[in-house]
């Protein structure tokens, strides 16, 4: 059949072209060309550091997917880490796009602020407004930041670096990224990974510290139900906090301003469209960008240093001290207060919203199944977000 002819004709043609290419190219040093190409593969251009970093990227993805440690961040960070450890060969830079996104949104820290906008739109400050004094616990837990800052100085970091490391203790990813991007961008990979990893590890880090500092009886305290909060109070709250921040700590205005702007559009009730987009499309898009951009600072030359180990150790200390400070102030408040206070709500002051509040709830229920303190713990929990944003502002104005 003539079909077969066409078919064979095609194959013969293909092979003759391929052979011809071989033949012709032979005359122009084909070995050289193939050698050139081999020299442009990754294998021949990557140091051991890149392989280690790719493994770390895989580990982060594994932690995100299998252990469900902050997967929204760790999966993009891990992927970004893998991609950004691809070698640059000649003029071809495989991380060009990520570098571009980095310049656009981390150098001037746009992404963490837009995420804070979304966090604000997702946060209900009602439990805090219903029981204002629990806000103190969110202040106390920031002690971990400054304690760690001093520790970092002792370990040889300079003031800017030490501030960026201390802020890990604030247990807020966007705040950590914002401050590190401003003060010590080369540490961004380490501090961001530490912040998100430890936030995911809160259920492992906090309970032993809490149990060390409290008796079973204290942990089982039942708290009075929260009073309802009016829509008006919820709307006025974010506006008041922005203005307070402008008057007291202007350097914290970017963080507090965006957080409270997000909360205002949430509570306003008349701009559902904006609140929805801040809580969904916008925060999700920015999370993707932010994650892969953090990978940019996980290139071997930035990340594979002794400093990274130090930062990881200091980070866990920051979390621990923060937790302890919160619990201790809660115990003191419990003694001074007329209404019963369960000291476990203190540990939620580190923020790590809403994980730390859930830990408080879980530990309380272990001690006394009829103690439901989740909503009470949400007060210090969200206050801790404000507290560490203020702390970041202070550090920025001192060392920025």
């Amino acid at each position: 059949m003539n079909k077969k002819i066409i078919y064979y004709f095609f194959i013969i043609n293909f092979f003759s072209l391929y052979t011809f290419a071989f033949a012709r190219s032979d005359t122009m040093k084909i070995d050289q060309r193939i050698l050139d190409f081999l020299m442009s593969t990754g294998i021949f251009n990557m140091g051991i550091g890149s392989y280690i970093m790719i493994s770390i990227g895989c580990l982060l993805i594994f932690l995100g997917i299998v252990k469900e440690y902050e997967p929204l961040l760790l999966i993009p960070i891990g992927t970004g880490c893998i991609i950004c450890n691809a070698p640059v060969i000649g003029d071809v830079n495989p991380k060009e796009m990520i570098a571009y996104l980095y310049t656009a949104g981390i150098d001037k820290p746009l992404y963490p602020l837009l995420i804070f906008l979304g966090v604000g739109a997702l946060t209900d400050f009602g439990p805090l407004i219903a029981n204002p004094k629990t806000a103190l616990l969110g202040a106390a837990a920031q002690f971990g930041i400054f304690f760690t800052l001093i520790g970092a100085i002792v370990l040889g970091f300079n003031l800017k670096e030490a501030s960026s490391i201390g802020i890990i203790g604030g247990a807020d990813g966007p705040t950590t990224i914002f401050l590190t991007a401003k003060l010590a961008p080369d540490l961004l990979g380490a501090t961001a990974v530490a912040a998100y990893s430890y936030m995911a590890l809160v259920p492992i880090i906090q309970p032993p510290i809490i149990k060390l500092l409290t008796t079973e009886e204290e942990r089982g305290v039942v708290m009075k139900q929260l009073k309802p909060v009016s829509k008006r109070a919820k709307i006025l709250f974010p506006v008041c906090v922005i203005i307070l921040c402008i008057l007291l700590v202007p350097s914290a205005v970017p963080l507090i301003g965006m957080l409270m702007f997000g909360n205002l559009i949430r509570e306003a009730g008349v701009v559902r469209r904006l609140s929805d987009v801040a809580q969904n499309a916008l925060i999700n898009i920015v999370t993707i960008f932010l994650g892969i951009c953090i990978g940019y600072k996980m290139q071997a030359e930035y990340f594979l240093r002794l400093e990274t180990i130090k930062i990881l150790i200091l980070g866990v200390i920051a979390f621990s001290i923060g937790t302890a400070s919160g619990v201790i102030l809660a115990k003191i408040m419990a003694k001074l207060s007329r209404d019963p206070i369960n000291p476990l709500i203190g540990s939620a002051g580190v923020s790590a919203v809403p994980m730390a509040a859930r830990v408080s709830q879980k530990v309380a229920q272990e001690a006394n199944p009829s103690s439901h303190i989740l909503m009470h713990a949400m007060g210090p929990n969200v206050s801790g977000v404000i507290g560490s944003a203020v702390a970041a502002g202070v550090l920025l104005s001192l060392f920025g």
């Binding site: 204002p132 300079n158 709250f237 929805d276 507290g387």
Partner: protein
């Protein structure tokens, strides 16, 4: 440098506490306003809200559909 660190702790913790204490003060005022001028009962009846005013966002829709589905199954069983 350690000195600077200590000072930053001093200032930092002080500012954080001052900020939070003023914030608490503001929240108390908001609480007083609520007591003085209790908001009119403008909230829609909860049940009606649950059934007929689904939020635009996906999560609420999800709950909404789950609720409707549950009701549906309930009535299906009633029919059987």
């Amino acid at each position: 440098m350690l000195k600077s660190g200590l000072v930053s702790m001093l200032i930092g913790m002080s500012v954080v506490f001052i900020f939070i204490i003023i914030m608490i003060f503001l929240m108390f005022i908001l609480g007083l306003i609520d007591k003085r001028f209790p908001p009119e009962k403008t909230d829609e009846i909860v049940i009606q809200k649950t059934i007929s005013l689904p939020g635009k966002d996906a999560n609420n829709q999800k709950e909404k559909i789950a609720a409707i589905t549950a009701a549906l199954i309930h009535y299906r069983n009633r029919i059987k």
